[in-house]
């Protein structure tokens, strides 16, 4: 009977955390890391996709800086990004869309 009692009464039974504390902690840590990782991944992926979709914005932003080695490296990377984007046809499409956007919101004379 004592055996049966242990089975039917949850208060007597050990909690999963007491039986496998390490496993439970690791699962919680993984879940925590997953939530933060998803947020970071979402921000990074969005920014990188935007850079690929409209690299002209980065290029003109970099043009505003005084020339220096860091800017030169960044401009070099941007021109490569631009080449990839143009090969895929995205930069050209974005350029046309931007011109259209400008004409839509242009101040009337």
């Amino acid at each position: 009977m004592p055996y049966l009692q242990t089975v039917v009464e949850p208060s007597i039974a050990l909690s999963p955390g007491e039986i496998m504390p390490d496993l439970q902690d690791k699962a919680a840590a993984r879940s925590e890391f997953g939530s933060a990782g998803r947020a970071v991944a979402a921000v990074w992926a969005t920014c990188l996709l935007l850079a690929l979709a409209f690299p002209q914005a980065i290029a003109s932003w970099l043009d505003d800086f005084e020339p220096n080695p860091v800017v030169a490296v960044a401009q070099n990377c941007t021109s490569r990004l631009m080449a990839v984007s143009e090969t895929l046809g995205i930069a050209t499409f974005s350029g046309a869309a931007r011109e259209l956007g400008k004409s839509v919101v242009r101040k009337p004379e």
Partner: protein, 478 residues
């Protein structure tokens, strides 16, 4: 550093992963966030970083002193000193020139020549929000609502945390310091909600507010005499949209970014233009400022406990000071006074009519509600004319020009695009909350790739429609 810029995107791409990597080392994480916030502020002004630091340091010291004598007379004296010390830089940078000019003008009327000179210094960005946070901290310590912070880093972060530093929302110490005590729980990140807030904020600022300003509001308010009455009236409504979309965009993005970093901020707007009374409007507009004014100004003045007429006085005084906070100019004082008198009149009407009487029953009915909405919305819009104009005379001239130009046949200049943008702005107010809830629910169900795809497409579309060059948010000047 403005939110909708490449600089901020790079800044966030760096700060966000570092924050979460250091999450379990909470003290180091907080130091990182303080450093990041100081870097963020340095894009506006490097010399004023010292002001930011000294403000935090003095409030930290005042907090400890007040905390020791909390509730005693000595504590009250110290809280008075602390409030004065917080107000001193605000008065110097923001009001000295205004006060000197008023005294000079008055002396000129009396035939004497008085000149206090001018500071010649631009008002530091964020000084008002800095003051609000400092005062709320020391007063809350005195009231026992929050314990004095033993950690200088916590206080530095509370005052300077970059999402709220420049233009709010005003976060109370009791809401924020507790969140710093232990590492943030990443499971509390509301990725769907914060992404939608950020995307909505970008749309409201970049597409609606910026274009409405450039295409219509700025030209009309700069030279109202060149426009007919319909244009002038439409520009008033358009400005109501601009200021809502601009300011709520900033606080929405701030709330979203703070959430991604693991910190919760209070809500700051709740469809203010659907309010049926002025009291209701102030419960929906810049909620953190309204509640700050209520808790640290209206209630200390006596609030509603001091008798009927003193209550009206307190309401009017609170709103006048709230107006003056927005800017050193007679137009802001008039804007605040109009709202103060409006609130007092509303209260007088409520107190002098029976709850179950015919008049109140009518106001609760459908026609009454429509009438109330029309009165409140138009009252708020008219007061925005004072808020937008360069000075009080400009506001009066603007309103007088509307009256003079009625039916004079001046051709309409408003473009269909402006009307579409105004419609989009109004939709943010008039759409039922269930529509937002449904959109939110659908977005949350998307996979991470879906969320990224939607976000990229939205920001891309916003970028395509963005004006060349981004004007700062309106509330940066306050």
């Amino acid at each position: 550093m403005l939110f909708p810029t490449i600089e901020f995107a790079l800044f966030l791409m760096l700060v966000l992963p570092l924050t979460w990597l250091l999450n379990q080392k909470n003290e180091i994480k907080k130091i990182l966030l303080v450093a990041a916030s100081y870097v963020f502020y340095s894009f506006w002004s490097v010399p004023f970083l010292l002001l930011l630091f000294l403000s935090s340091l003095s409030n930290y010291a005042f907090g400890l002193i007040i905390g020791r004598g909390s509730g005693t007379k000595r504590g009250s004296i110290w809280v008075g000193v602390a409030v004065c010390c917080n107000l001193l830089p605000l008065c110097f940078f923001k009001y000295y020139d205004f006060a000197a000019a008023q005294i000079r003008a008055l002396a000129g009327l009396a035939g004497s020549d008085v000149d206090f000179g001018s500071t010649g210094i631009a008002v530091p960005v964020a000084i008002s929000f800095l003051t609000f946070h400092g005062i709320s901290y020391v007063v809350d310590v005195h009231r026992g609502k929050v314990q004095a912070s033993r950690s200088l880093v916590d206080l530095l972060l509370y005052i300077s945390f970059f999402p709220h530093l420049v233009a709010g929302p005003i976060v109370r110490a009791s809401e924020f310091l507790g969140q710093l005590a232990k590492p943030s729980d990443p499971r509390n990140i509301d990725l769907g909600g914060s992404t939608l807030l950020i995307l909505g904020g970008l749309f409201k600022k970049v597409v609606v507010a910026s274009h409405l300003s450039i295409l219509f509001v700025d030209p009309v308010f700069t030279n109202p005499k060149a426009y007919g009455s319909v244009d002038l009236i439409l520009a008033v409504y358009a400005y109501a949209i601009v200021i809502y979309c601009d300011f709520s965009a900033y606080t929405d993005i701030a709330i979203g970014v703070a959430d991604l970093l693991g910190y919760k901020f209070p809500r700051n707007f709740d469809q203010p233009y659907i309010a049926l009374s002025l009291q209701d409007f102030w419960r929906r507009w810049h909620i953190t400022l309204s509640s700050w004014l209520r808790d640290y100004l209206y209630i200390p003045l006596g609030g509603g406990r001091a008798g009927r007429w003193l209550t009206y006085r307190n309401l009017i005084l609170t709103m006048i000071l709230g107006g003056l906070w927005h800017g050193a100019g007679l137009q802001f004082i008039l804007w605040g006074a109009l709202h103060g008198f409006g609130l007092a009149a509303e209260r007088l009407l409520r107190e002098s009519t029976a709850e179950s009487g015919r008049f109140r029953r009518f106001l609760r009915g459908e026609t009454g509600q429509t009438l109330r909405w029309l009165i409140v919305f138009n009252f708020v819009c008219v007061t925005w004319v004072f808020f937008r104009s360069a000075d009080a005379n400009g506001a009066v001239d603007y309103l007088a020009t509307i009256a003079r130009r009625v039916g004079d046949g001046t051709p309409l200049t408003v473009s269909p695009l402006v009307l579409v943008l105004m419609m989009a702005g109004f939709l943010t107010q008039l759409l039922p909350l269930s529509v937002y809830a449904a959109a939110d629910g659908r977005f949350r169900k998307l996979s991470i790739a879906g969320k990224v795809g939607f976000s990229t497409a939205t920001i891309w579309a916003v970028t395509m429609l963005a004006p060349s060059g981004m004007a700062p948010f309106i509330y940066f000047q306050f």
